[in-house]
């Protein structure tokens, strides 16, 4: 559905995108995550045909975005991070206006407006002026506007920003419905947990580069493999026992960053799988180190994000 190849974009001499490549399959809900300034909005704006890339290609359903922007616009629904609404327009008129802009025929337009107001749970607000809606409702209406011409790909730039928890939950529900309807959705956010709950796959961008791309599960596995191991020793352990334990651990080349953050506790990074953990524990026990607890900690998604992007 979406294929990006070596996409670059410079603002003057500053490289906002340093050559990102990405493939998203049909019907996929793909998260685009990264800290502020990572290049998410730039990528989405290029995909929305609002900006030309400095180099590289992007195709939606085989349609080149730069060569055929008008054709591509029929395939894209775009919801920007910041958007406004028109005063003096009712909700149905707002959607009807964008349907006209997309050239949707009269009969179909009426039907689409009705269906979309229902989808975003605003059918009761049909005759309400757009300006009188709450922020969450406006976000949902804007999402409906992006769907008015029945696009194949939805580009949502931080759609839940500024929403309260209830509105976020409603938005998530709508996005799940869209996935069930077979729409391909590219959704950006700088909050990884928010995306991981609803996305099938993720791309993590940092400073204009892709630092991870794959399924949410793969990301978790990748990062958990490198989670720190915590060893709790007997309370009776002396300073000497701690030193001995550290010496035993350092004999393993896969062990690094051995530290003692508090009394009777050692933390370390351990490469390799479960077998290696068993081996290390065995070695400690054979050396007479009184180990009370030995386990690998779990990385939460915030930590994963920090680890992958390599900075706060």
């Amino acid at each position: 559905m979406l294929e990006i190849q070596d996409l670059k974009r410079f603002y003057g001499a500053y490289p906002a995108l340093k050559g990102i490549s990405l493939k998203i399959g049909e019907g996929e809900l793909h998260g685009f995550v990264g800290p502020n300034g990572a290049g998410k909005t730039t990528t989405i704006r290029i995909l929305a045909t609002l900006m030309k890339p400095s180099s590289g290609t992007a195709r939606i359903d085989g349609v080149d975005l730069v060569a055929q922007p008008r054709k591509a616009r029929d395939l894209i629904g775009y919801m920007p991070d910041f958007f406004g609404v028109y005063d003096h327009l009712k909700c149905w008129e707002y959607l009807d206006f964008y349907a006209r802009c997309h050239g949707v025929k009269s009969q179909r337009r009426r039907e689409m407006v009705r269906q979309l107001l229902e989808l975003v749970q605003l059918e009761e607000k049909r005759e309400t002026p757009v300006n009188d809606l709450s922020r969450g409702m406006k976000q949902r209406l804007c999402l409906a506007h992006a769907l008015i011409h029945d696009p194949k790909l939805l580009l949502l730039d931080e759609p839940a920003s500024g929403m309260d928890p209830r509105a976020r939950a409603e938005m998530k529900g709508i996005l799940r419905s869209l996935r069930d309807m077979g729409k391909t959705v590219l959704i950006s956010s700088h909050i990884l947990p928010e995306l991981s709950e609803m996305c099938d796959s993720l791309t993590i961008l940092d400073r204009g580069e892709v630092v991870f791309s794959g399924s949410v599960q793969a990301l978790g596995e990748k990062m958990n493999g490198d989670a720190p191991v915590r060893i709790l020793l007997s309370r009776a352990s002396t300073e000497q026992i701690l030193k001995d334990a550290a010496r035993v651990l350092r004999e393993f080349p896969e062990v690094r960053d051995v530290e003692s953050p508090e009394d009777h506790v050692l933390t370390l990074r351990l490469g390799g799988g479960e077998d290696k953990m068993e081996e290390v524990l065995h070695a400690l026990c054979l050396s007479g180190i009184p180990v009370w607890d030995f386990h690998r900690g779990e990385m939460n998604l915030e930590k994963v994000f920090m680890e992958v992007t390599g900075h706060d």
Partner: protein, 308 residues
Amino acid sequence: MINPILASSARRRLRGARFHILVLAAMALSLGVALYAMSGMIRNPRALSAYTEGLRAYAALVGVETLLLALVAPAMTGAAIAGERERQTLELLLVTRTGAFRIVSGKLLESFALLLLLQWSTLPAQGLCVLSGCVTLQRLLVTQGFLAAFALLAASLGVFCSTLSRHTMTAVILSLLALPLLLFLLSLPAFLGYPQRVTDVLYDSRRYAEMTEGQAMAMMGPVLLANPGVSLFSLLESGTGAFQELFLWRGWGRILATYKLIDRVETGKLVLLGMAGMAVLSVLLVALSALLLRPVSAHVRGRKGKKS
């Protein structure tokens, strides 16, 4: 299908009270000006000066209406594109099938249609001048044609300035300044290029008396002929002699020379040429605005270097 930008913008504007108040104010102002200017004729309709007074009332009305359009058009068009930028709705439009040209032309047509409505709201006052017998119906129609073309030019310039600006206020100020500047630039030949040639004619009364309309037009050149200011000048001057005394008194030789040339050409022809000039300028401004607004370009104004 009717341009959706035109339909939606007009709907939103007409739902507010501002435009309706403006139309009523224009109507009241034009009636006030007409009645004041015709007061002498009303008091003494049999006086010899009654006809000239009626014509002067009409010229005053046309002058006021042109000024009104020159002031209102920037205010109406300032928000055309800059307002969409401020409201953060421009990008939502640019990613639809509606191209930049349709967006610009929709905005222009909406403003132009409402300016026409404003222009026609002064017709009752102009009708008074026609009914009093001082102004012919033909002159009324020629004047309406000129004012419509002027409204189109002012609106096009307003939309162009709005395309260049990030804020509505900047766009309004820019177009308020741009219209007189444009008219001044088109009038430059009257101050530069041909003065000596023309003043030679002016001071040779025999040559001036023998000068044909075609010769006068050739001497003025295409820039002055297509200048809306010249058309307006001819409209206001014809039959009223409103400016002759002023030029003679001030001794502005070059302008007086131009005036003498304008006086040699039929007002209807000058207005038609002026209308053509304004139409060409409007088309150029719209095309330029659409070019500036094209979505897939190096950047979209107002978002350059934005965070991502």
